[in-house]
Structure formats: C-alpha cells, structure tokens
Amino acid sequence: MRKRTAVIAAVAVVAIGGGVAYAAWSSTGSGSGTVSSTTSQNSSITPVSGSGLYPGVTVDAVVSINNPNDYAVKVNSIADSSSSVNGTCAAGTVTTTSATTDFSPVIAAHGTQNYTLKAKMNADASDGCKSITFTVPLNAQLVSAAS
C-alpha cells in the first residue's frame, strides 16, 4: 500500500511540472521596417483622327492618351474645350466634349488607349475657318487603376 502511494505521488509531481512548463512558454516579437509609395508621371494626349468639319456639324475626334507609369491608370474625365484664334477664324469656333466618351478602357502600364470625343464647328463659322487645322487644348484627369 505504501509502495503504491509513492508511485502515485511521483506521477503527480511529473504531471504538475509538465503542465506548468507548457503554460509558461510563449513569447512576443517586434521590429520595424518601411514601405514606399511611388510617384506619378503625367500622361500626354495626342490627336489620332478628326476631319470633315463644316459649319454646324459634329464629327468624331479620336485622341490617344499614353501612360508612362508602372501601373495601370484610367481616365476620369477630359474637360470640354474650344479652339483658339486661328488666322481670321474666331476663337471658340470648334468645341470638343467628352459627354459621350467611353472611359471604361483602362490604360495599361506604359500603354496607350484611344478615346473618342465629339468636335463641333459653330454654325456661324466664317470663311476664314475653311481648310484649316484646329488645335484644341485638352486636359484629362487620370487616376490609378492598379489592383
């Protein structure tokens, strides 16, 4: 009887010791580091096509926008604009709008994408507006399309 008691006591000591050891063994870790955002580069807009204007008509004017960045971008808007004075052709003779432009195609990193604007010549355009090329300044807003 005394022998059995001694063995039980020994087992109890081992069991308790093991339980304490497991519960106490945890640790924490820490450290510091950095991550950097990139800068952005502006895109360029260049004319692709657009001709056949005469007083009162609206034609498609296609422009190409490039993306010099390492990430995809999308065009949020291209502001409405108008032509400058061109010889005897008055300023504002030709106006452009992106009201019906489909901006859903994103521009891949280092890629280009065409967008179609509407260009209209005023009905009262003078003869000085015949056979000339109009330059219309365009300003687009682009945002990251990275995912």
Binding site: A24, W25, S27, G29, S37, T38, V143
Partner: protein, 130 residues
C-alpha cells in the same frame, strides 16, 4: 517499497531541472525587413518580405504578426496604407530564421499627398511552443 522510494527521489530531482529549462521565459523574437518594398500606388498592393528570427533554443510557432503603419505626412490619411495580418501560423526552428511575405495595400482613394512617401512600419507578433 525501497525501489519505489528511489524512483520517487529520482523523479523529484529530475522534474525541477526539466521544468526550469521549459519554464525559462522565451526570448523575444525579432522581425526585420528583407530588401526594399516600393511602388505602392492607389488601389495596388506590394509585398513586404520580413525575416522572423527565433533566438531561442526551442522551436516556436508564430501565431500572430501584425503591422502598424505610421504617417510620414499629415496630408496622407492614416488609413491610406494597411498591412494584412499574418494569415497562417508558422514554425521557426530553434536559433533559426524564416522569411514571410506580408501584403501591403494602399486604398484606391489615396490622394496625391500619399505619392512618393516612405511609410514606417512597426511589427509585433506572438509565438508559442509548437
């Protein structure tokens, strides 16, 4: 009876020694960058690789690893950049290191003020005995 007492005495001697080794407080593990992590843009993600080093003489299982992101500019919102917490626990052998990849995100609405910045990261984690 005599044999049992000897066994008991042996266990009583061995147990404290074993417990002392296991109970010793585990040393804190360290977390440090591996290489650079750049190119973060609105709506995008980059991978931040970190090295977790276990200075203990026992293996550890890292159960959590979280990252607090500092603000290098007051014009860039506090929540503009986040780091995903560790997804899966992992074991590091005693006195060894393991590299893990964390995903860093920039919200799509991040303003221009968040361009070209270096965000400080503070790592913290917990580990248990495997």
């Amino acid at each position: 009876m005599r044999r049992a007492l000897i066994a008991l005495a042996t266990l009583l001697v061995l147990t404290p020694m074993s417990s002392a080794a296991d109970n010793s407080p585990a040393k804190a593990f360290t977390i440090a960058d591996v290489g650079t992590a750049t190119g973060l843009v609105p709506g995008g993600t980059v991978t931040r690789k970190v090295r977790v080093t276990n200075p203990n003489n026992q293996d550890i299982r890292v159960t959590s690893l979280t990252t607090a992101v500092g603000r290098p500019s007051t014009s860039c919102p506090a929540n503009a950049v986040t780091v995903d917490p560790l997804a899966v626990p992992f074991v590091i052998a005693k006195n060894a290191s393991a590299d893990v990849s964390l995903t860093v995100r920039m919200v799509a609405s991040a303003p221009n003020a968040c361009r070209n910045l270096t965000f400080p990261l503070t790592y913290s984690g917990t580990a248990i005995k495997p």
